[in-house]
């Protein structure tokens, strides 16, 4: 019982204190929000170690048991160790791991960045396949989705500017028509999030303790 009560009490107290300090600029309260963020990132640092540990163990197990595809676990280890070790060496040697010419910087520029940008760039293909499949005039709602998407897509390229009306229509859709629902959705999410926060502070929502 205590194992649930204590965390609930802690959530309540931290939550209430942080909300109140929002209205009090006087020290030590005014700075508390910033302090909370610093603490947050420190605790995150510890939690990170749990994640790293979990991954290292997962791949270790795969190698130890010769599970299917265990060879790729060596690739994982190689990547991790290379980045971790060069990072620490570069930081100590140059004072900044990202300084020009450090080995860490090479890994970043020629391995991590290309991998990131290529993964990101897969989207060019996926927007195409998703729109081919999803934008069918099955019913009125789907038709609205389809038509606006096509108009805006046309409005963004030079050919669109040659079709009379497309450019102003695109601008109008972006500046007015889509702004209303975008605002409504954001207000809804904010209210829902606030009520979720209240539920958490009051200890009503407690899935996270399950």
């Amino acid at each position: 019982m205590l194992q649930r009560r204590i965390p609930l009490l802690i959530t309540f107290l931290t939550g209430v204190i942080i909300v109140i300090t929002f209205f009090i600029p006087h020290p030590p309260f005014g700075k508390l929000q910033d302090d909370a963020l610093v603490w947050y990132s420190i605790i995150l640092g510890f939690s990170m170690l749990i994640g790293v540990d979990s991954l290292l163990r997962f791949h270790y197990r795969r190698i130890a048991r010769r599970e299917k595809g265990f060879g790729f676990s060596f690739v994982f280890y190689a990547g991790f160790l290379a980045c971790f070790i060069t990072g620490i060496i570069s930081e100590i040697k140059f004072g900044d791991a990202f300084a020009e010419g450090t080995s860490f910087r090479y890994l970043y520029d020629y391995i991590l960045v290309p991998l990131q940008s290529t993964m990101f760039a897969l989207l060019a293909f996926f927007v195409a396949s998703a729109s081919y499949r999803a934008f069918r005039a099955r019913n009125f709602i789907a038709t609205l989705l389809l038509i606006t998407a096509v108009i805006v897509m046309l409005g963004r390229i030079p050919i669109g500017a040659k079709i009379p009306g497309i450019t102003p229509l695109t601008d109008w859709i972006l500046n007015y028509l889509q702004l209303g629902p975008a605002r409504g959705i954001r207000i809804g999410i904010a209210l829902g999030a606030i009520s979720m926060s209240l539920r958490l502070i009051l200890g009503i929502e407690r899935t996270y303790l399950s």
């Binding site: 990131q116 396949s129 897509m153």
Partner: protein, 274 residues
């Protein structure tokens, strides 16, 4: 039968088509003509009207992720500056953007046979964000003692007549993040510096209020903006080529949407008849 196939085209064919239409314009240097928008035109005019020998400061506030959109802008603006015999001062607020900016600057400078230290300079990166911006308002040399390669600024003739923002004709911020807001808020308002922003397409919409309020004198948005600027400078570059790829990619997507819908309707009608 054919219609059924067309409603369920294997997505790998779509990938193939997209890949090809994006690739071909790049390989064969195809271009499309673009319509110039007011905000890009005004950016162009502001730089074009600067007297010969004025200094333009360009801030590289992006890294590799936004390079496809912002690098063509950088090159187009550099070409414009060098063509008009303006001096260029490059600075960086994203440490990871330093090599990217340097690469663009050197490439264009070589095209125009410009001399380092006389016609252009690369100051590199100094940590401190807003503090750096503000201190440059008093004395640039007191923030950047040396250039990127470590030469003292006093030894480079380009910096002889440049002390602070008063000696900078226009500041061009090429932005992939929040640095543009800082330029406007701190340097624009406090030092009355004229600012042009070049931003990624996704960010462009948010910048219009600044344009309307006169806080920036020009706005170049995304690859399309870069292509427009290239058109104005009359030296086609990757922006215009990219715009061709864009156009064909958009049209391909729309083409597939149309095929999907036609086959969908044909099949539905057949289904009804049965």
């Amino acid at each position: 039968m054919i219609w059924e196939k067309l409603t369920k085209i294997d997505r790998r064919y779509i990938f193939l088509f997209i890949g090809i239409v994006v690739l071909l314009p790049i390989v064969f240097n195809l271009k499309v003509s673009v319509k110039i928008s007011d905000e890009v035109l005004s950016a162009y005019k502001e730089i074009d009207n600067l007297p010969k020998g004025s200094a333009v400061m360009i801030s590289i506030d992006y890294d590799a992720a936004s390079m496809p959109e912002l690098q063509p802008m950088l090159k187009a603006i550099l070409r414009h500056c060098f063509k008009k015999e303006l001096k260029v001062i490059l600075i960086n607020f994203w440490p990871l953007g330093v090599p990217i900016g340097a690469q663009g600057l050197e490439e264009v400078a070589r095209e125009f046979n410009k001399t380092y230290g006389v016609d252009y300079i690369n100051l590199g990166y100094r940590p401190g964000d807003v503090a750096v911006m503000l201190r440059m308002g008093i004395d640039i040399k007191k923030v950047f003692y040396t250039d990127l390669s470590g030469r003292p600024l006093d030894s480079l003739p380009i910096m002889n007549n440049i002390k602070n923002y008063d000696d900078i004709g226009i500041l061009v911020g090429l932005e992939a993040g929040a640095m543009g807001d800082a330029w406007i808020q701190y340097v624009g308002t406090r030092f009355k510096q004229k600012i042009i922003l070049g931003v990624t397409a996704v960010m462009a919409a948010e910048q219009y209020p600044y344009l309307q309020a006169g806080q920036i004198v020009g706005l170049i948005g995304g690859l399309k903006g870069a292509a427009e600027y290239e058109t104005l400078v009359n030296i086609p570059g990757t922006g215009l080529v990219g715009m061709a790829s864009q156009t064909y990619a958009h049209l391909t997507i729309i083409f597939f949407i149309i095929i999907g819908n036609i086959s969908y309707f044909v099949l539905r009608r057949k289904g009804k008849k049965k």
